[in-house]
């Protein structure tokens, strides 16, 4: 049996496969397809202090090997989340990582605070990088802003904190360094890239928001580059995401050093993507005669 457990801080994940925020519903959307306990963790859709309506329709658009989205952080707010989502995950044997966002450092802290005492919540991911709300991206384009958010959240919780960064920053490595300095336990790389599509027939932008976040296999090489650079220069824990669709994709990210991987847009084209990736990683390592994922991680030849 191949050992797939992965440790970050004091937290042990049964395997390195998680699902990315906003691509796996809020709660039980994929439960009809497979047992969530097959995954190392679930990262939930961004939750904010107050409910948000999100953006106008249309919000999604297919692109070459990917899609654009401008959902705009639609969510029912922290209070409803605590009442409805947390109890659901209480009995599920997988690590729940709650993704939060706010319009200011204070709002981030306010959104994070109620989860600090929840044993079911194993870690928080801070969405410093939503391209579809005003102010969203700015937090992780600017090292000082990003630090402010991490410090504010660090002050209200001892949970593991992952800072989710944008690939649009001028220097992602320096932002990653800044958030780690401010007290983050790791970084999530990458959020979507800002893109745009046009509907020629209607002579309009394809999205009501005009621009949206590009995700899917199309962005995988960009994600790969950022994960590689951050791992090489900083050696900090990284949750890698961006186009991971098959076990082969996941293994490539593990090879460059990712600690965990997240399956995102792939959930939309295959509701079984996450458990199939867990199984595929296991089979590959077995076939290669590698005893544990730890022995495989970061063994990229340069």
């Amino acid at each position: 049996m191949v050992e797939l457990t992965t440790k970050i801080g004091d937290l042990v994940f049964k395997n390195p496969v998680t699902v990315a925020s906003g691509t796996f519903g809020v709660k039980d959307e994929f439960a009809p397809y497979f047992d969530y306990a097959l995954m190392g963790g679930v990262i939930t859709k961004t939750v904010t202090t107050k409910p948000r309506e999100g953006n106008a329709m249309p919000r999604i658009c297919e692109t070459s090997a990917g899609m654009l989205n401008a959902i705009g952080l639609q969510n029912k707010g922290v209070e409803a989340f605590l009442k409805d989502v947390i109890p659901y995950f209480r009995s599920i044997d997988t690590h729940l990582i709650v993704n939060v966002a706010g319009k200011s450092a204070e709002e981030f802290a306010e959104a994070a605070r109620p989860f600090s005492g929840e044993a079911t919540v194993k870690a928080l991911e801070l969405n410093l990088s939503c391209p579809n709300v005003s102010g969203g991206l700015d937090f992780s384009k600017n090292a000082l802003e990003a630090k402010k958010v991490i410090r504010a959240v660090r002050a209200v919780t001892t949970k593991l904190l992952f800072a989710k960064l944008t690939p649009e920053a001028e220097n992602v490595v320096s932002i990653a360094e800044a958030v780690m300095e401010a007290g983050a336990d790791g970084v999530s790389l990458i959020n979507t890239l800002v893109g745009m599509a046009v509907n020629l027939r209607e002579k309009r932008p394809s999205l009501a928001n005009i621009t949206g976040g590009l995700s899917g296999p199309a962005i995988k090489p960009i994600a790969m580059r950022h994960v590689f650079e951050v791992k090489r220069k900083l050696r900090v824990p990284v949750i890698a995401m961006g186009g991971i669709t098959t076990a082969k994709d996941a293994l490539e990210f593990l090879l460059v050093g990712a600690d965990l991987i997240s399956v995102g847009t792939a959930n939309f084209i295959n509701p079984m993507a996450a458990p199939e990736i867990v199984q595929g990683i296991r089979e590959y390592l077995e076939k290669e005669g590698v005893k544990s994922v730890g022995d495989f991680r970061g063994t990229l030849k340069l």
Partner: protein, 251 residues
């Protein structure tokens, strides 16, 4: 629910515009009800990338029929699929039409929206089946519709088949003599058509259900890409729809 790799049994043109794709899956066949749809990837490649939602049109033992018209990249690829090939499919998904066997049932369909109407009409009585098309090429033969000719009302925009004009005009005319307590309306078709049907129905006090269409990514309520504002608030069309009662619609 599960995702399956399903064998395509048949994929044939059944009129100038329509194709019928037949899949073999006892899992889906056993669970399908009128109004349900499937998420279907038309190719293993990333182009086209997203799955296409397709209404279930008919179930025969372990066979499931889909009707489609080639309008873009996905349906073009679909039309080239050969029997014996396999597709990734998951479902059945979404809400279903409520069976109203005691009412006089009116079915109003436009274009490819006819697919779930055919499924429903195969299980319920049919008082009148209205089918609006752009042109004669978009019509389906009676053998595909499975509707008694005397119950069928066809209109085409160009007058090449049936009545010239819009199916909404046919509905308006018929609705004049409908007692709201006796009749119930089911509709599926393009948005502008359904809006007019629902408006007329509401004016006459007629109840009914409509199947909504929205661009989708996940099809399972996970991405929030297909939302719509209703009297129940902001809902996902794929999971909380696509079939909704008229009185929930803000139209």
């Amino acid at each position: 629910m599960r995702k399956e790799r399903i064998e395509v049994v048949e994929n044939v043109g059944v009129s100038q515009s329509f194709y019928r794709l037949t899949l073999r899956s006892s899992f889906i066949a056993d669970r399908s009800r009128p109004g349900h749809f499937l998420q279907m990837r038309v190719s293993e490649s990333y182009d086209p990338f997203l799955a296409r939602p397709m209404s279930i049109c008919r179930v025969r033992r372990d066979l499931v029929d889909i009707l489609y018209i080639v309008v873009g990249a996905g349906t073009r690829v679909l039309s080239s699929i050969k029997p014996g090939m396999k597709l990734d499919v998951w479902g059945p998904l979404g809400t279903i039409f409520t069976p109203m066997p005691k009412k006089k049932l009116i079915y109003v369909s436009g274009g490819v929206g006819v697919a779930p109407m055919i499924f429903l009409a195969s299980q319920m009585p049919v008082e009148a089946f209205l089918f609006g098309v752009r042109t004669a090429a978009d019509l389906l033969p009676l053998s595909e519709l499975g509707i008694d000719k005397s119950r069928l009302h066809v209109s085409s925009n160009d007058g090449s088949v049936g009545e010239k004009g819009y199916i909404t005009d046919v509905f308006d005319r018929l609705a004049k003599n409908m007692n709201p307590r006796e009749y119930f309306v089911y509709t599926c078709g393009p948005d502008p058509m359904m809006r007019l049907i629902v408006k007329t129905a509401k004016e006459k006090g007629l109840s009914g259900e409509a199947s909504m269409e929205e661009v989708m990514a996940c099809g399972v309520g996970a991405c929030l890409g297909c939302v719509m504002d209703t009297k129940r608030g902001r809902i996902t069309v794929c999971h909380e729809g696509p079939v909704l009662p008229f009185d929930v619609l803000t139209w």
